[in-house]
């Protein structure tokens, strides 16, 4: 039976919603695609028409959340931010959208975003990485850099970002406030590295 685009769209949304609930309740590893299909009222095999694997499904949630985070960032930025602050805002806006997924995100990000060589690269993960780095390059370009940072700088950025994500998924402090402190420090450090500036006088509080 052919189903309408509208029904397809609704199924997809329902799968994603139910998957969040089940991943949160059971954890990513213990959840099967069958669990999700059943919860969404679909036959087990039907789910694969929408998402080829559990990893892709989870990573789709991540990509969508990060996309919303980018929109939030665009809306929230005032244009007065310096580079470190703007990067902070960008990273923090993304994490805020990822927050509902946080309880089960550790293994998802580990599999989909791992920088180590793998047999099969998660396409969703790779797309998320590319989109994120493009956005970062756009931000950097907006702050007077004549050229885009080279692969070394961007690899360092990505390592920092993965580190932040890993810390954040483990962060038990209220509202993951320790992650905020880490982002603050990490973004300042990255800007210092690519600017080649060692702060002489440091930074100071307003008098």
């Amino acid at each position: 039976m052919r189903i309408s685009e509208q029904a397809k769209h609704e199924n997809r949304i329902r799968i994603l919603e139910k998957a969040v609930d089940i991943f949160t309740a059971k954890g990513f590893d213990a959840t099967t695609t069958r669990d999700i299909a059943l919860a969404a009222g679909l036959a087990a095999g039907t789910l694969f028409n929408y998402f080829p694997s559990k990893e892709t499904l989870a990573m789709t949630m991540v990509t969508e959340a990060l996309g919303q985070g980018r929109e939030d960032f665009q809306r929230r930025r005032t244009g007065d931010e310096d580079l470190a602050e703007e990067l902070f805002l960008f990273v923090a806006s993304g994490l805020r959208r990822l927050r509902p997924l946080r309880p089960f995100l550790g293994p998802v990000l580990e599999r989909s975003l791992s920088p180590f060589p793998r047999k099969s690269v998660c396409q969703e993960g790779e797309a998320a990485r590319q989109e994120h780095l493009h956005a970062v390059q756009d931000i950097i370009a907006g702050h007077g850099f004549a050229e885009a940072p080279d692969y070394v700088a961007m690899t360092m950025y990505w390592s920092l970002y993965l580190g932040i994500l890993a810390f954040w998924t483990n962060d038990i402090s209220p509202n993951q406030e320790e992650t905020q402190s880490l982002i603050d420090y990490a973004t300042r450090m990255f800007v210092q590295i690519i600017s080649g500036v060692v702060p002489g006088k440091g930074e100071a509080h307003a008098e």
Binding site: D82, E86, S181, E203
Partner: protein, 475 residues
């Protein structure tokens, strides 16, 4: 390198020197240089501090000088071992974030003993506060989203993106409520509690090799209490509660203002209070106020602190001058209740027993109160000199209470006697005491340093009689 050479010479000039063992200061300079040249990992709290700068090296040197003086009478072998500990301790000190500034100030002051002048002492005390790194506006916004689910500009009619003051745990922004009130919004740097805990762990390690003495347990108990109070300060809900309680004990005629807390705009990490128009002491003194005006503010400050003491059993233990606002209409604003020691019944009774004994000139009772405060069961357990030095200090504290008429807190000789007593006690290592004395000393010296700077006078005894009468009325 030439510049390095100059740096070394300046360092040599600036460092304290030990007349006997290191008259040229060379040994100390070498130690400081060797430690400074080693890299220490910085955390987000220490990113504004550079270990290798001359200024850092000098203050570092003062700390080293003081630490070394703690075991200067040790034997040569022990001394060498201690020097190694010292180098390690100093390196550890470099990794501290939040408390380092304060520890450095104390080190600097202790190294200058006994030549500290009152002005310096007052200056060090007022600078003895902790500072979190500055936050940019985007970080402030994230804190707001976490605390209230809304951005500052959604909550307030206007919100200044640039902080106007640094607070001990974060920073303060001016804003206006939708209803028009001007407010001061204090925002805490995220994750500060962890840094405080890490720093205290480092401080314990730092002091350990130097304090394998009779009073190590006492030092540990004090550090535990410091940690407890600092962590208490991270809870702005508690502070808001203190503010509200403090407001209930003052009436308009007192001319002491505790700002109103706006609950809907306050949380564990954000505290929104009424903005008090006015200035801090330095700006106030620049206007060269008349003596009568200085006396007026000294009176208000005394009334304010003893009102809190007698009615609420509090010690406002943060002497930071930024916590007092000189308002243009002659009122005094009290703006920070984060570091407030709320005495328990036992502490309250002990504190009053000592005061009463001194007022009654009841020497046996006074000696017993002092012994208890120094963690001895009986005065006989204390060395006579120990008892004498601590008693002298307490009698100095009590002088204004026994003085009829105007008491001049600007009297240099008076202030100096208090400092000399502290110096003597520190030099003789008569530091064993119940943890509360950290806060009562901070309260006393903070208040007196402030009034000394203000060159103010007040009818202290009358104020004390008036404020303490309240508890008798209650009974």
């Amino acid at each position: 390198m030439r510049s390095e050479k100059i740096l070394e010479q300046e360092l040599l000039k600036a460092l304290p020197k030990d007349r006997n063992s290191d008259p040229a200061g060379l040994h100390l300079a070498n130690l400081v240089t060797s430690v400074s040249n080693k890299m220490v990992p910085v955390n987000s709290f220490s990113r504004i501090w550079i270990l290798g700068s001359l200024q850092a090296r000098v203050t570092f040197g003062y700390l080293a000088y003081w630490l070394r003086s703690r075991f200067s009478d040790a034997e040569e072998k022990q001394r060498l071992k201690s020097e190694a500990h010292l180098a390690a301790a100093l390196q550890l000190f470099g990794t501290m974030g939040y408390l380092r500034g304060a520890v450095m100030k104390v080190g600097q002051m202790l190294a200058n003993l006994p030549e500290v002048v009152p002005e310096e002492f007052a200056e060090v005390l007022s600078a003895l506060h902790f500072e979190a790194p500055p936050m940019h506006y985007s970080l402030v916004r994230e804190v707001f989203l976490d605390e209230f689910g809304r951005e500052p500009e959604e909550m307030f009619a206007s919100f200044e993106q640039q902080a106007f003051a640094a607070a001990s745990l974060g920073q303060v922004h001016r804003a206006r409520l939708q209803s028009g009130e001007e407010v001061a919004v204090k925002i805490q740097y995220p994750g500060i509690a962890r840094t405080i805990k890490n720093d205290l762990r480092a401080l314990r390690l730092l002091l350990q090799p130097l304090c394998l003495t009779r009073d190590w347990e006492d030092t540990i108990a004090k550090l535990v209490d410091i940690e407890r109070m600092l962590l208490l300060e991270t809870d702005y809900i508690k502070e808001a509660d203190h503010c509200r309680q403090a407001r209930t004990v003052f009436v308009d005629a007192d001319q002491v203002v505790v700002p109103k807390v706006y609950d809907g705009y306050s949380s564990k990490r954000v505290l929104t209070c009424e903005y008090l128009l006015g200035c801090h002491i330095n700006e106030y003194l620049q206007r060269a106020p008349e003596q009568a005006e200085r006396d007026h503010f000294t009176t208000l400050l005394t009334v304010a602190t003893y009102r809190l003491y007698y009615r609420l059993h509090w010690l406002p233990a943060d002497p930071h001058p930024g916590n007092f606002i000189f308002m243009p209409d002659g009122r005094l604003g009290l703006i920070d209740f984060g570091c407030t020691l709320v005495m328990n019944d036992e502490e309250w009774c002990d504190s009053n027993a000592a005061i009463q004994a001194a007022l009654d000139r009841d020497m046996p009772a006074l000696n017993q109160a002092i012994a208890s405060a120094c963690r001895f069961n009986h005065p006989d357990e204390m060395a006579p000199d120990h008892l004498e030095v601590i008693r002298q200090g307490f009698c100095w504290f009590m002088e204004p209470w026994q003085h009829e008429g105007l008491f001049n807190f600007g009297d240099k000789a008076f202030f100096l006697r208090g400092i000399e007593n502290v110096i003597e006690a520190a030099r003789k290592r008569y530091t064993r005491s119940v943890p509360m004395t950290i806060w009562s000393n901070r309260f006393t010296f903070g208040g007196r340093a402030f009034c000394y700077k203000l060159q103010g006078r007040c009818e202290f005894r009358n104020i004390f009689l008036g404020e303490s009468a309240w508890q008798h009325q209650k009974l």
